[in-house]
Subunit: 339 residues, 2 copies
């Protein structure tokens, strides 16, 4: 049985999206056990009248909520009765709890995970790895996308190892093509961190390093993993999402500007719906934190039930695929680790 | 008379695009004088049969070409007879030559400009400032987009001052809204460089600093200038261009997948052409290098005649708007400068 805690508050559509997503995942996966954290009476209200296997669902009362504007470290220290911190503490204290899924404050979740859950052996810095769709129908993982705004070449090598194993084991990508985000393709491009990292990545036979990637090629389908510092990775992911959304908005506005366009768009209704669905991050699950000793998945703040369900599936796959031990095995070849 | 040197080789469509762009600019601007550098016989061939005011056009023979794969510093040192280096040396040596426009190697142009042309008084690091269209019909300048992969808070303040004056004087943007690219809106976000830069920008009354910007809001129309290090700025600009292009490609492919969509698209033909034009960087000129003692404009390698013409217009406006002296005046308030 895989036991996953779902933090049911802190998202834009909480607790409904979190509860409905949890129930959907529960019904599809027989060996899944879900713990919901949050205000018990609100959660009971949300569950009321819905069908589910009550023997695989538990509620843990946690009346407090962490807001997005709270300082992460303060929230972790002071809001022990919040749905998020209670969930993280269950992860820390209970051997049979495997993973957490949260749609709450990213900063608080990272701070709580790092200080309360700890890291896999040998991992210096856990890193976020969201996944985006590529134009050929595939996906690409971006690691790190924001947990570490400053990095060293060694960190970047670890991100590459972790993300490569993640794409392989969780998404079934064979021998993932790993690229280093840089300002040009040539090995000597970028600052010293990038230049040294390039060499380290070349000297790591456990990954399939294919060289530098310029950001304009992210969606081309030529890469499965992009390694970067959390600052530029954050820019990469959010610029892609932002540009896609702004363009769709503009198209919609322009379509409404003329009757002829409206008729044309009517014929293409299905296609536009498909494009929108294709670019909807809710279909691609959350951003996992790689390198923590237990699985942490962060869903988008605006996640609806479907996105929460995807996040739970992701956490389940990570736990059942032996990802953690696989990461430790490779990382420990390169890092000295003392228990 | 404003004298501008146009480096006619090194671009994908050189020399035709460069020559045609130069002639178009020449015909529209009576007090413009153009110098073309490159292989004289090839340039004469290109000019053959075309109408132009020969009294305002000069050819300077430079038979060599710098390739995109050459090491910038070597190219600057060794290829003295190349169209680019000869153009840069004219800029350095001749008082009446005001600006250079090139579609050749970015690295070589930056290296040549910094070592041969020099900087405005007080400027620590010149920086690139390309301009992108926003979804409300405006534009946004991004500075730096690649000349400096590592920066200090002082550099970022200088980028802000230079880019703000550039948008104001060259594009007529009143009191440009300047933002700092960061991983979140709050003042304490990002690394130490960003945190210190935030304070410096707040303490600079000559600019209208509006706070941090997350990359997803770049095209929203809420900002006129975005300040960033050259690494993340490069990611920002190229991700935007890349995402827009990939999406248009996908739309086109999907349209061709069904007859119904093809008919719909036919009704919307004009609209799609407008969208394509809207996203065509050729309409927005080149990336100017701010902070050099004379004007340097870098056109996209794939520039066609229209884009080259826009670059020349840009260089002309920069020279006639008193941008350089205006930058020096503000920068020197904050930097000690010794001649």
């Amino acid at each position: 049985m895989i036991k996953i805690v779902v933090d049911c508050f802190g998202g834009d559509h909480s607790p409904k999206a979190n509860v409905d997503g949890a129930l959907a995942a529960l019904s599809k996966t027989p060996d899944l056990f879900i713990v919901l954290t949050g205000d018990e009476s609100l959660l009971r209200e949300e569950l009321d009248g819905k069908e589910y296997d009550a023997s695989r669902l538990e509620i843990v009362h946690a009346p407090d909520i962490i807001g997005c504007d709270e300082r992460p470290i303060d929230a972790v220290r002071l809001k022990r009765d919040s749905s998020m911190i209670k969930a993280v503490r269950m992860l820390r204290d209970m051997d049979d709890v495997h993973a957490i899924v949260s749609t709450g404050s990213t900063g608080a979740l990272v701070a709580a995970a790092l200080t309360r859950v700890g890291r896999l052996r040998g991992v210096i810095r856990p890193a976020f790895c969201p996944v985006l769709p590529t134009m050929d129908g595939g996906i690409v993982g971006i690691c790190d996308s924001g947990a570490n705004v400053e990095v060293t070449p060694d960190h970047l090598r670890q991100f590459a190892i972790m993300a490569s194993l993640y794409m392989e084991r969780t998404y079934g990508v064979k021998s993932p093509r790993v690229a280093l985000l840089n300002v040009g393709k040539e090995a000597e491009k970028g600052d010293e961190i990038r230049q040294v990292a390039y060499k380290l990545l070349e000297e790591t036979p456990e990954i399939n390093f294919v060289g530098n990637m310029e950001s304009r090629d992210l969606l081309s389908g030529s890469y499965d993993v992009v390694v970067c510092d959390g600052f530029s990775g954050n820019v990469l992911v959010k610029t892609t999402e932002g540009t896609a959304l702004e363009l769709l908005k503009k198209l919609k506005k322009d379509i409404y500007s003329r009757t002829l366009y409206k008729i044309g768009a009517l014929l293409m209704k299905r296609m536009f719906a498909d494009e929108k669905e294709f670019m909807n991050y809710q279909n691609y699950g959350g951003s996992v934190l790689l390198g923590t000793s237990k699985t942490v998945v962060k869903g988008h703040g605006s996640s609806k039930a479907k996105a929460v369900e995807k996040c739970i599936e992701q956490a389940y796959r990570m736990e059942t695929s032996g990802l953690g031990p696989a990461i430790e095995e490779v990382i420990l070849k390169y890092e000295h680790y003392q228990d």
